[in-house]
Structures are given as structure tokens and as C-alpha cells.
């Protein structure tokens, strides 16, 4: 396989910023066709500015952005709109606008001077709505939509624009957990079934890790790119997110709070119940240890009876839930 050919987007020494002020060091990076790229980084680092620059809304200060072998500076605005779609974090509220009308605005660069929607446009609009699962919402007004429905409509709008590349600034912000996962997995599906290339920014590291092909970790030194797992192994997330109170755990890809350790505990038991018991005890401030000699505290859990037998320096207690167990540990010690 020829690797060079598959490069779809190439950033070379790209400097982004506004009012002539650079936000970070020159950026370099490549994206292959059909990839889902998640841009992560702290607030204010310049994720939005980078995305706006890629979407042709903000001017770059220096360097080049090549999309499909063409420098975007050389593409005129109408043609650009047929190649790159964009969703910002702005919440769109246009009274009296229906979802159909909203999606129809995506057809701007395809329609005649009055913006007449022809049968072929109608078909594209419908297909976009079908893709995002909102065909039943087409005649609804935007003001009647929930946050999740509105975001789906915005995605349908950008699909109707029929571009190869989609740039999305925090597409899952403001959404509840279920909608957030549905939207991100919808984006993942679009890269697979519709051949879209998607670059999005997000603060939701776990779902970005679950769904994206590439993560761009953005900091003062530029982009560190790689598959999510590569970045975990290289300790990139650990460096980026670890602070005095929170730590990114390399072992399970999650965040944990750094607390004062109150003691050690031995957990015996198997399966799911042992895993969750360890987590409950970790929150209570107990480090799990394997050797029974070190700890005065041991917990054995039983999967079938859902009970926890605790022994502390010879005393034995039985609990019916982790809540009761945690409360006991909190109040006794």
C-alpha cells in the first residue's frame, strides 16, 4: 500500500491565532481519508481556532493547509463549501425555521440564485435526515427540538452540504450521556459507511478513545498524533491530564482522584463483583493489595449471595451492599 497517496489533509507549519497573534507553535499533521480524528486539549489552548482555520472561517497566520492535494487558499468560497462542512458550538435558534429548511441551507452552493430546492435536492435532504435518524422531525420547528435532536439536525445539514471533510467543534457538548454516545458513534459510522473524514474537538476523552482512529493531543508544543492506545502507551494523556488531584490511569484509561491512602485491603472473590468492590474501596481511600500479611483489613465477596464478609483485626462483619460497606468504613475509621 502506498502511504503517501492516502494522505487527505496535510498541515505544514500551520500557525493559527487571531488578530495576528499566534496561539501556539507551528502545527504539523496529516489525516487519511475516512478517518475520525478527535482533537483534545485544555480549554483556551486553541482547539476551536484550529478547527475554524481548517474550516476556512479564520485566517491562518502562516503555513499551509492542503486538502485533497489543493491548498485551501486557492479554493474559492463556493467550491470550498462543497468540500468542507463545519459545525460550530453556536446554538442555532432561528424562529419559524423548520428542520427541513435548516437542512436545506446546506444546499446553498448547489442551488440557483433564488435557492430553489429541486427534486434532487429534496432527495439529498431526505437522505441526510435518514442518515441521522430525524426523518420524523423534518416539519418540526427548531424551537421545538431537544438538544440531541437539534445536534442531529445540524449534522444532517452538514451532510446535505455533501462534503468529504467535516469539521465539528465539540459536537457532543451540551448533550446528555446517551445522546453524547449516540452522536459520537453516529460520526464513527459516517466515516465507515459514507466515507466522510471527520475532525472534531472534544472534552470527552473516554468516548473519543472509544470511537476515533486518531487523537490529536494539542498543547503549547503542537500536535501529538496517534491512535488513542498509542498515546496512552506513550504516556501523553498522563502528562496532559495529571495534576495535584486527578490522575489519568494508564492501566484502565480512566481518571481517578488522588486521595490520601487510609489503608490497605485484601479483596478476595472473582468476576465482576470483585472489580466493582475494588473501585468502591478505592473511592473510600483503600489501596488493594494482594498479600494478606500487609493489611489488617480484608474483604471477601460472594457473587451468588451478593454479600461482603469483612474482617478487621479479627472482628468479622457481613454487609448486603457496597453502600453499607462504604458507610461502615467511613464512619468507623
Amino acid at each position: 500500500m502506498k502511504r503517501e497517496d492516502s494522505v487527505f489533509i496535510q498541515l505544514s507549519d500551520l500557525v493559527v491565532g487571531y488578530r495576528g497573534k499566534a496561539l501556539m507553535t507551528p502545527l504539523n499533521g496529516t489525516v487519511k481519508k475516512g478517518e475520525l480524528v478527535s482533537v483534545i486539549g485544555h480549554n483556551g489552548i486553541g482547539k476551536s481556532t484550529l478547527l475554524r482555520t481548517l474550516a476556512g472561517i479564520s485566517e491562518r497566520l502562516h503555513g499551509s493547509i492542503i486538502i485533497d492535494k489543493t491548498d485551501i487558499k486557492k479554493i474559492d468560497i463556493r467550491d470550498f463549501a462543497k468540500r468542507v462542512g463545519y459545525i460550530s458550538t453556536d446554538i442555532v435558534t432561528a424562529p419559524n425555521m423548520t428542520v427541513f429548511d435548516l437542512i436545506a441551507t446546506g444546499r446553498y452552493s448547489y442551488t440557483n440564485w433564488l435557492g430553489s430546492i429541486k427534486e434532487s435536492d429534496r432527495e439529498v435532504i431526505f437522505r441526510s435526515a435518514l442518515e441521522t435518524g430525524i426523518t420524523n422531525l423534518l416539519d418540526r420547528y427548531l424551537s421545538e427540538l431537544s438538544d440531541g435532536e437539534r445536534q442531529r439536525s445540524m449534522i444532517a445539514r452538514v451532510l446535505a452540504q455533501d462534503t468529504d471533510l467535516l469539521i465539528m467543534d465539540e459536537p457532543a457538548a451540551f448533550l446528555d450521556i446517551r445522546n453524547r454516545h449516540e452522536i459520537i458513534s453516529l460520526l464513527h459510522r459516517l466515516t465507515r459507511t459514507a466515507g466522510k473524514t471527520i475532525i472534531m474537538s472534544t472534552h470527552d476523552l473516554p468516548s473519543a478513545m472509544g470511537e476515533s482512529d486518531v487523537i490529536w493531543a494539542l498543547d503549547e508544543n503542537g500536535i501529538t498524533a496517534g491512535a488513542p492506545e498509542d498515546l496512552v502507551l506513550q504516556g501523553v494523556f498522563e502528562n496532559m491530564f495529571t495534576c495535584d488531584t486527578v490522575k489519568f490511569s494508564k492501566s484502565d484509561g480512566n481518571f481517578c482522584s488522588l486521595r490520601e491512602v487510609r489503608g490497605e485491603v485484601v479483596v478476595t472473590g472473582t468476576g465482576m463483583i470483585a472489580e466493582w468492590t475494588k473501585r468502591a474501596l478505592a473511592r473510600a481511600g483503600y489501596r488493594t493489595s494482594d498479600s494478606s500479611s500487609a493489611a489488617g483489613l480484608s474483604v471477601s465477596c460472594d457473587e451468588t449471595s451478593q454479600t461482603w464478609n469483612v474482617s478487621i483485626r479479627g472482628d468479622k462483619y457481613v454487609f448486603g451492599s457496597l453502600y453499607d460497606l462504604s458507610f461502615f468504613l467511613r464512619s468507623t475509621f
Partner: protein
């Protein structure tokens, strides 16, 4: 792909289009009836049959003078002014994403007034020899459009610096206040007869236009309306905000310049000869939105034009005080009709916070 559902959607779509066309037809018929009523009603009672005969040219009595030289031009003026101000208001509301925008509230009409004041009042100052001669129609209209344009430029500059809707409105009031102060100062340096001409002009009137003035106004307004047709498509996308417009392929700068030229011509052209007419431009687009429940400018723009013409004709009929020989200033009537609509829009609340 789900063909059946697509047909469903097409059907819903064509049903709403049919409904909108029906409402639009009713609106046009309504406007035509008002136009006829406006010609029929006046301080002199003229039998409808006589009017028909005058129009067809078979009557040359003194009534024909009233009908041809006064009533028909006045009704035409109302029609043109109403359509122009409403379309101007609609464009401003969309481009500023501000439901409270309009040529009058944002001081654009005041800018046109200043242009007219400079011509009417400044004429004697610059050319004392000319005495009390009234300056030419085109000169008035050009300076009115220029005045309107300058204020539009200033308001545009402010609106993109200050995003807050209400702040922009307050700034509009400031502009209007500043301009009226300048006009007051101008009045000190002018002759009494010209001053009287100016004061009468500021009250607003649809009835004093000469044939050539009506032509100049029609020409300017048609130019403004023609430009506005080319902004329809882009305004539909601009409702989503500038970023979305740009990323959809809209040349935002070009649209802004087009709207700027169009509204300057519309507001300037009307204000030049009718005086400042308030609250039509701000109220009518909301009436159009209420009637059509759409954000599509393909409907809103013609609907605003026709509804604006209708509302202006109603205002003119009311200003005749049917049954008496007194005539009210048109600006007072349009304000009394338009302000309740504006208050209703404000009271509906959320619209202030959510943009157009």
C-alpha cells in the same frame, strides 16, 4: 432508501407551499381592496362610478382632477412606501439578527432626514441667491439615500462590535437624537419659509408628491427591491449566523454590501418625499412571519412587501379620518398601528433573546 417516506415528505412540503400561496393570494386581494378604498375615501365624497369614469378617461369634471392628481398618486405612494420600508426592515432584521431592527428605530430614517434637512435648509445657506427656490427632486433623493447609507454604515459597524440586541437599539436612539440635534442647529441658520417647508416635511405625508417626485421615488425603490431579490438566498443561511453562512458558501461581505445599498435606497427613497415614517419597517416583517410561520425569505420578502403596502394603505385611510375634512400626519398613524405589534413581539419574550 425509503422512497415512501420521501414521497410523504414531498407531500407535506407541497401542502405547506399550497397553504402559503393561498395566504399570499388572500394578502394580495386584501391589498388591492385597500388600494381601491384609499382612492374612494377622502374629504370630498366622489361616487365610485365617477372614479371609474375618470380612470377610463371618459370624465373631465373637477372630480377627475382630485382623483388623477391627488388620490391615485397618494395611494400609489402609500403602496410603494409601505413595501419599501417593510422590505428594508426585513433585511435589517435578518442581517443584524435582531428582531427589533428597522429603518426608523435604528436611525436610518433619521439619517435620510438629515440628508433632506441639509438640502432644504442648507440650500439658502450655500446659495443665498437662489432664495426660496425648492431644490430638485433628484438632489433630495440622493442626499436622503446618502444620509440613510451613512447611518447604515455606522449602525453596521456598531452591530458587529456590540452583539447585544438591546444595546444596538439604544445606540440607534442615540443616533436619532444626535441627528435631530444637528437638524435643530441647522434650523437657526435658515429662512422662515424653508423652515416651515421642513417642519411640514418632518410630519410625514403621502399626499404632496408631484408626478416627478413619485417617479423618482418609484425608480429608487424599485432599484432597492431588485437588489433585495438577490439577497434572498443568502439571508436564509445568514439566519444561522455568519460562521455557518460562510462555511455554506455565502459571500458574507457581498451580501452585507448588497443589503446596505438596498436598505439605503429603500429608506432614503421613501423618506426623501414622505418624511420619516415610523414602525412600519419593524412591525411588518413580524406580521409576515406570523402569517406564514416560516423563516424562508422566498416567502417573507414578497409577503412583507405586500403586507407593508396594505398596512400603509390602512394608515392612509385612517389618516383621512373618513367623514371629516381633517387629515392626520401619517407618521402618527403608522406609529399607533405599528407600536402594538412591536410590543406584542417583545412580550412574546424569548424572541429578544434568541435572535430573529
Amino acid at each position: 432508501m425509503d422512497k415512501e417516506k420521501l414521497l410523504d415528505i414531498s407531500e407535506i412540503n407541497s401542502r405547506t407551499v399550497t397553504r402559503r400561496l393561498l395566504i399570499f393570494s388572500i394578502l394580495i386581494v386584501f391589498a388591492i381592496i385597500l388600494f381601491i378604498l384609499d382612492i374612494l375615501i377622502g374629504s370630498v365624497r366622489i361616487p365610485p362610478g365617477e372614479i371609474l369614469r375618470t380612470v377610463t378617461g371618459t370624465d373631465t369634471s373637477q372630480w377627475s382632477v382630485i382623483v388623477l392628481k391627488f388620490r391615485i398618486p397618494k395611494a400609489l405612494t402609500a403602496l410603494i412606501a409601505g413595501a419599501a420600508l417593510s422590505v428594508g426592515g426585513l433585511q435589517m432584521q435578518t442581517i443584524f439578527r435582531n428582531p427589533m431592527a428597522g429603518p426608523y428605530v435604528l436611525g436610518v430614517s433619521s439619517g435620510a432626514s438629515l440628508g433632506v434637512a441639509l438640502v432644504i435648509l442648507g440650500y439658502t445657506y450655500i446659495m443665498p441667491v437662489a432664495g426660496t427656490r425648492i431644490p430638485g427632486d433628484w438632489m433630495v433623493i440622493v442626499s436622503a439615500c446618502t444620509g440613510a447609507g451613512l447611518v447604515m454604515l455606522f449602525v453596521t459597524y456598531l452591530a458587529f462590535r456590540v452583539r447585544d440586541i438591546l444595546t444596538v437599539l439604544i445606540l440607534g436612539i442615540m443616533i436619532a437624537g444626535g441627528i435631530s440635534a444637528i437638524v435643530t442647529i441647522l434650523q437657526y441658520f435658515t429662512s422662515e419659509s424653508l423652515l416651515r417647508a421642513y417642519v411640514i416635511w418632518t410630519m410625514g405625508s403621502l399626499g404632496n408628491l408631484t408626478g416627478s417626485q413619485l417617479f423618482a421615488m418609484l425608480f429608487t425603490v424599485l432599484a432597492g427591491l431588485t437588489i433585495s431579490l438577490f439577497t434572498i438566498k443568502s439571508m436564509n443561511v445568514l439566519l444561522l449566523g455568519e460562521n455557518y453562512a460562510r462555511s455554506s458558501g455565502v459571500n458574507v461581505k457581498l451580501v452585507r454590501v448588497s443589503v446596505f445599498v438596498s436598505t439605503s435606497l429603500l429608506a432614503g427613497g421613501v423618506t426623501a418625499f414622505c418624511g420619516p415614517i415610523g414602525f412600519i419597517g419593524i412591525a411588518v416583517p413580524h406580521i409576515a412571519r406570523m402569517l406564514f410561520r416560516t423563516s424562508d425569505h422566498n416567502f417573507l420578502l414578497p409577503a412583507s412587501a405586500v403586507a407593508g403596502a396594505a398596512l400603509m394603505l390602512i394608515s392612509d385611510i385612517i389618516s383621512q379620518l373618513p367623514g371629516s375634512d381633517k387629515v392626520l400626519p401619517i407618521n402618527a398613524v403608522t406609529s399607533l398601528l405599528g407600536i402594538p405589534v412591536v410590543i406584542w413581539v417583545i412580550l412574546r419574550g424569548r424572541i429578544i433573546k434568541t435572535g430573529v
